[in-house]
């Protein structure tokens, strides 16, 4: 058990691979089926966002998806090497905010917005259901 990293070319067809990796890590971390779907969609959105940023900026460097399940929850970070953040689609941001327990857009290696961090916090098995 440990961090998992996936680097993929910034192409739309690669996002599905990233989703599969994210779900695999989330399942191993013990998330239930509802939250697996949240991880699948949110990580897919974050990766698609980076792919679109790279395509818009003609950046060919690979996008990094890093999943950490060693802490109290699950963390997914998507990092790209695009230079500027442009305007994020508000529908996508609403989805990300609604799906993850925490969502932050952070500076990346080459400019603002190049890192997106998502967190899911573990609840006890006897804890209340999330709605």
């Amino acid at each position: 058990v440990g961090d998992v990293e996936l680097r993929f070319p910034p192409a739309p067809g690669q996002v599905r691979t990233a989703r599969l990796v994210a779900v695999s890590v989330a399942r191993r971390a013990g998330l239930d089926d509802v939250r697996l779907d949240e991880v699948r969609l949110a990580v897919g959105e974050a990766c698609a966002r980076s792919v679109n940023r790279c395509l818009a900026g003609a950046v060919t460097a690979r996008v990094l998806l890093r999943m950490e399940d060693g802490g109290p929850g699950l963390v997914a970070e998507v990092v790209d090497e695009a230079k500027d953040d442009g305007d994020d689609d508000p529908v996508m941001l609403a989805l990300l905010a609604g799906l993850a327990d925490s969502m932050e857009v952070l500076p990346g290696p080459n400019g603002p917005g190049g890192r997106l961090r998502l967190e899911w916090w573990m609840t006890g098995s006897s804890g209340p259901d999330r709605t």
Binding site: V15, R16, G44, E45, N52, V91, A94, L95
Partner: protein, 113 residues
């Protein structure tokens, strides 16, 4: 194949049945099909999403685009979906207020529009 799209006429309606994953990679296929249908003069659209097991914001954007095109011709775009994980995507983004969403194709066809 990650996404398949089939269209058929039923009375005044055009039913677009979608199967697979609608995401940043496959959404252009659905966009093209919706554009073709509207260009063909068909404006009463029903997108049957019963076979869809993934929908992202790019897919939502395509559906909103289809709705706008249909409405620009006094038409409509209704959705058929009864899967909680897909409905949740519409709820989080507030699009349940924008699309008529039916649990079954029969309900959509019986909507009277």
């Amino acid at each position: 194949v990650e996404l398949s799209v089939a269209t058929r006429r039923e009375g005044a309606h055009t039913i677009i049945s979608v199967t697979g994953e609608i995401d940043v990679y496959t959404a252009p296929t659905l966009r093209e099909r919706l554009n073709e249908v509207v260009a063909n003069g068909e404006y009463q659209l029903i997108v049957d999403m019963a076979g869809v097991d993934f929908l992202d914001s790019t897919g939502l954007g395509v559906l909103v685009g289809g709705l706008k095109r249909a409405r620009s011709h006094e038409g409509s775009l209704q959705l058929v979906c009864d899967q909680e994980k897909i409905l949740k995507v519409f709820r989080i983004t507030g699009l349940t207020k924008v699309f008529p969403i039916h649990a079954s194709l029969a309900d959509a066809l019986g909507d009277g529009h």
